[in-house]
Every structure is written in C-alpha cells, then in structure tokens.
Symmetry: C2
Subunit: 259 residues, 2 copies
C-alpha cells in the first residue's frame, strides 16, 4: 500500500539484478524469461514495477516480449550493448587493448566564424579548443578536435584531461547537465595532419564524425570533429524491431546540398 524509495527506484534495482543474471548467462539464447507473475512473486513488488524493469531490458535489446507466449532472451549476445553509448576506454578494454590519450593542444581562443555559427555563440564569447589524440595499445586511432564554451568549461580547465573523461569531470564539478547529442558521419581523405598524427598514407579514406552536444537548456555546449582510422574503427548501431517502420533504411540520412 505504501512504499519507501530509498535512493534509487525499485524498478531500476530490479533491472540491474535481472541484467546481471542475463550477463552471467543464467538463461540461454532464445530461452524463456520468467513471466511477470513469477517475477512479481520473487521480487515481491507489483506488476507495474516489474514491467518497468523489463521494459528497460527490452529497450536495450536483451529481451523480447510476445503476447500470449512469454518473454524471451534475444540472440547474439555479442553486440547486445552496441546500442549504448560506450566510452572509448571501455570499448578498448573489452577488446583487451590499453587505451590512452595525449593532449596535443589546449587553448582558449576566439572561435572561427564557422564554429561560432554551428555553436550559436555570441560575438564576444570565447571557446576552449582541445585537440586530443587517442591511442589503443600505443597506436594512434582517433584525432579529436573539440570546442567547448569557455564559460561552462572553466571549472575543469586545469584538470587532468588525459586521465579522466571530460564528461565525468563536468558532471562532478559543474552544474552543467547535458541534453542531446547529434552526430554526423562523413568520409574524408587523409590530409597532411592526419597523415602525421594517425600515421596513415595521404588520401587514405577516414571517418569523420561531427558531434554537437547540447546542454539541457538547449544551448550548444560542445562541438567536435573527430577523425577515425577507418581500417581499425567502425561505427555500429542496432535498431529496435521494425514494426511500424517497414519502409526504410537502417540509419537516418542527411542530404547535403551541392551548389
């Protein structure tokens, strides 16, 4: 009848419990997952709470529900996490590779006009430009050229960005709360700087990701252009069940105007 939410919600704890079970391989691929009623009994909560927890697992592709039949574990465990935002370090360590990073540049500058435009900055606002090279096992894999609003970045400006995740630091030391991120992926040919930094031939096709990150209030907080060695790193995405989406291509496209 009444309840007492300690710090984190029940449905989230249950979600974590169930996730741990799945990860530990307590169920085989395609196996039946406990029904709502069973889970209600074993966790001693209401059905709504259970469904909330299970919904998370479904959204993340671990489970599938089929009306009248039951809930089932999905196949292909390998890519099961790929929908999620994972940090570079984590990805690398999953492959048994030591990730590292080197700051090539960290400067407060007046933004170039194109940067000013995409970040919707006022005329006098300054930005921090950070160029960082990320390695996997000492081999350079990614060049990150990021632009942050100095106003929001100041509190962590002097911290060690080589060892820490910038977002982690921001989250802990500022009140900035991040909102949406938008990425655009293009292909490009290696130029002089990519040739030197990534150690690839001139003209090698590379992946270029342009990222826009907004704060919760809708202002742009970061813009970055990251260049990936495409022979070593690719992007993968998983898409949820089609259902309504039966037309379609897997990924959202964006068309360039050519003039």
């Amino acid at each position: 009848m009444n309840y007492q939410p300690p710090l984190i919600p029940k449905y989230y704890q249950i979600y974590e419990d169930l996730l741990a079970m799945i990860r530990q391989g307590e169920f085989g691929e395609g196996d039946r997952f406990p029904s709502d009623t069973e889970l209600v009994k074993s966790f001693n909560v209401s059905r709504g709470t259970i469904r909330e927890a299970v919904k998370l697992l479904i959204q993340q592709g671990f489970l599938v529900r089929e009306q009248g039949k039951g809930t089932f574990i999905t196949y292909q465990k390998i890519t099961q996490d790929s929908y999620k935002l994972i940090g570079f370090t984590e990805v690398m360590s999953q492959h048994g590779i030591k990730a590292s990073a080197k700051i090539i540049e960290k400067k407060i500058i007046d933004p170039a006009p194109n940067i000013k435009q995409v970040m919707q900055l006022t005329d006098d606002e300054k930005v921090v430009r950070i160029i960082r090279l990320r390695y996997g096992d000492k081999e350079p894999l990614i060049i990150e050229r990021s632009f942050f609003r100095y106003k929001l970045f100041r509190p962590i400006y002097d911290m060690d960005l080589e060892k820490n995740s910038i977002f982690e630091l921001l989250y802990r030391h500022t009140t900035t709360r991040l909102g949406y991120a938008m990425q655009r992926i293009e292909a490009m040919a290696a130029g002089q700087s990519e040739h030197k930094l990534l150690n690839v031939d001139l003209g090698t096709p590379l992946l270029l990701m342009k990222r826009f990150i907004q704060a919760k209030d809708g202002t742009y907080f970061q813009y970055s252009e990251d260049v990936y060695r495409s022979d070593r790193i690719t992007f993968t995405t998983r898409t949820l069940p089609y259902e309504d989406q039966h037309d379609s291509h897997g990924l959202p496209l964006d068309l360039m105007k050519n003039e």
Copy 2:
C-alpha cells in the same frame, strides 16, 4: 473502472492526437506542454494512460520532462525525426528532390563463402542478389548490394522493386516479420565499379554501410553493403539525454582486429 479497447489502444490514439497538435505548431519551441493532470481532464483517462502517450513523444524527441517543472516542447524541429528510420524516398522528398532507383541486377545465386558465413546459411541455401542504384534528381547517390534468403524472398521475387519499398512488399505479402537491424559504417575509397556507377573519381572517400537484418526468430534475412557518395550524403544520429551516460562518446564503436 472498466474499459473497452476498440482496435487500437487509447494511449496510442492520444499519442497521435498530441503529435498532430505539435506538428501543427500549437506550441512554440521551448513552450510548456500541458501537465499530466490537465491532460487527464481533457482526455478523460487515467494518468497512467497519459504518461504512456507522452512517453512515446519523449522517446521520439518531441518533448522533454523535467521533474518539478513540467513538460516542454523540444527545440530544433528540423532534426526531430532524425532518430527515426526514414526511407530514402522520404528523405529525398523532404528536400524537394525526386528519388528514383534502378535495378542493375537481380539474380538467384549460390552465396559466396563470406556471405554464407555472415548470414549463417546452410550449405545448400540459395540467396537473391540485388544490386540497385538509387538516384536523387537523376544523380546517382547510393549503390546497394543486397543479399536476401531466397526462401523468404520468393513471394515477391517478380514484383516491381524499382517503384516499391522492398520492406513494404515483404510486410504485405509474406509472413516474415522483421526483427533487429545492425549497421556498421566504414570509410572506403572508390574503386572501378564505384567510379562508374556513382560517377566519382577513383580513390574518392565513400561511406560503406554494412547492414544485417534479422527476422523476429533471429535468423538473418538480409545482408547488404551500401556505398554512399559521402559528399552528398551523411549519416546523422541523435542521442537521448545523457543522464547515466556521462562518460562517453556519441556513437557506439567497433574495433577491428588487425593481424
């Protein structure tokens, strides 16, 4: 106390109603959206149902909830759909461009070993290979090389694939229900065939998307390799609010082994 679900659930109807309102611009960007209680009154349903409807709008990026404050319309309407799976034709027409397609090849073949492997086919199973060139305003933009299991594709084999969406046809004429899709994006250099078909110079960097599409039972239904003119087409994705995800990179990565 009791209810009668006619054909489609209430929450879905409400979702459609609200979506229509938003689309018609009844609310400005950043405006406050009606609160749960207000919606409960105007639609005369319970709060749970309202929240279900609103959740859909949130998942699709139209709204944001903030505890204690309210629900708000999101900014930048332009990209608000970009999270979604949109068909090529639709994207093009949004830009006022006439999309068309030409079948270059349609054949039943014995799959090459690598195809057999990625699609997890049995030894004697045949596949349909379709090579299709997609145009925007008569300019070639994409080469699609798709492989379908012949077994599942047969019912629509003789239909007009130039005018229709393959998935649309499948959905209507077969019992095949699609499950998950997985994409991998790489960069590549234009070779002879891309040079000819896409009308770009040899060595031009292009985007290569490898797509795996599963049926609901987990079997692989389609594998395709699509080549995009990267000067005209890019991929974009939007990511939901960060929250738990404060480490991180925008997009899931995948690492290649280099041996």
